[in-house]
Subunit: 274 residues, 2 copies
Amino acid sequence: MSKYNSEEEFLKNYDSSVFEKLSMTTDIIIFSVSDEDVNNYRKLSKKKFSVLLVKRDDYPFKDKWCLPGGFIKIDEDLEDAPVRILANETNIHNIYLEQLYTFGSVNRDPRMRIVSTSYMALIDKNRLNDKLNSNASWFNIEYYEEDNVVNVTLIGEEIITFKIKKTLKDLTTDRYKFEVIENDKLAFDHPLVILSGIERLKNKIEYTDIVFNMMPKYFTLGELQQVYEVILNKKLLDPAFRRIISSKVIKTDKIKTGEGHRPSYLFKYKKGTN
Amino acid sequence: MSKYNSEEEFLKNYDSSVFEKLSMTTDIIIFSVSDEDVNNYRKLSKKKFSVLLVKRDDYPFKDKWCLPGGFIKIDEDLEDAPVRILANETNIHNIYLEQLYTFGSVNRDPRMRIVSTSYMALIDKNRLNDKLNSNASWFNIEYYEEDNVVNVTLIGEEIITFKIKKTLKDLTTDRYKFEVIENDKLAFDHPLVILSGIERLKNKIEYTDIVFNMMPKYFTLGELQQVYEVILNKKLLDPAFRRIISSKVIKTDKIKTGEGHRPSYLFKYKKGTN
DNA sequence: CTAATAGTGTCTATTAGACAGTATGTT
DNA sequence: AACATACTGTCTAATAGACACTATTAG
């Protein structure tokens, strides 16, 4: 069958050009939570769910926004690429990172065939100390769904909106095909990546402790609840929330005061509860 | 900034060789369920959870077993590749398929840098009519976990065993790093792919209707329960199982008899219940 | 005092786990 | 009759949803 007698011999003679090659990139969707001041001394600042975007200063998609990312190096493990890019972009290490999905439509990049593996990262903004790269910027995420169309608005240096149509692909697992039907300001297929990220986070927040990757070390239960609410896009009932969360946090003796209303205890994450 | 004045001009002059390119493949883990006869006229045949493997007849990894797969064509959407390969391998269409994970360690293939996106497919074996490709063969899966080491045994034309060590990677979401610590008969990093597939299926069977992709049109609740049990690797209590499953199936007036015990009604999947 | 959030108590409805029991075919 | 599986009833424990209530601060 084979014209070679050993693996070594085969490998020595292997012609790696028999299959056409392509390039691979990685895109990272970095989520965080930000505070938005409210002009009422009594009210709490509002939590917003946000994503980091980069303004492209060169072609293709010059002047559009995109997710941080870059090419995979030929001698670099796939999962090391997002770590490298993240360290580069945010100047911090030890960031929560998980592989999201690999996008590989033939025409997703106008330059050439590029397949991109996307990752989702979660960080606590307080760790950043404004050490962001110059052309990167945070955008608050707002979204709603209507008639199987998801309308996403990203609010930051600009207002970016896009719409994605969801078509049921499989009844047994409720999976949808996403199709961008409106998008002006985002490069590549990044609207798809962002929506995939939102959905993944929304799912995981319900059955894991993933949210704590976006929280500072100490937080009030009110703040934590707000983060859940802004990601899940719905209000939660206080007693139910506290019941469920109580096993995941430890109450400290620290107290947050000066808010114009009853002060609250600060809590921290109780590790290993998931 | 850019030396070009328009996207078109940029693209016309784009040198696609600035980044080193690589090859991509796809590996498909095809799961199904098989019956194993028991030498007792009264007892039901035992359900087994099985995976399709292909014997390699050429280098690299000549004579080892691997998952069906192949190279992504340069002008083919990533998600079309597994469909093509699956049609080729099984001669059937309309198979449940979902993207699993993209593996991209630098040295996962001895030939050259190859990144592989794995997919999980589920089929009802009865649809196959022995139309399998000649070098493909089903293996029953058995596994158990002990001290964070998963021991997997695949039983078919040969007995294949491998061990994978799980190291906790992230406390908040209970994700593990997998490391193959014993493997003789499987090619590439396919032990990792198989275990990822098992874990994905095990998870999804609990909160979706995914199992029905592996079932024939008509089945008894006993059979269905056995499939759950063999995938989850644990016994379930009858009344609880029936309570939960009752909303997902429709009872027909067909009856399965001749089994040496009380006959049972046949059920079918009630679509759109998930 | 009031506005606003912090935090608790409790009722009810629903669901999950466990076990015991009855039903009905084949040999 | 004996065996093996089919299928059901019911008790209990745990959990989720809803609502009403009390507590405490800044201004």
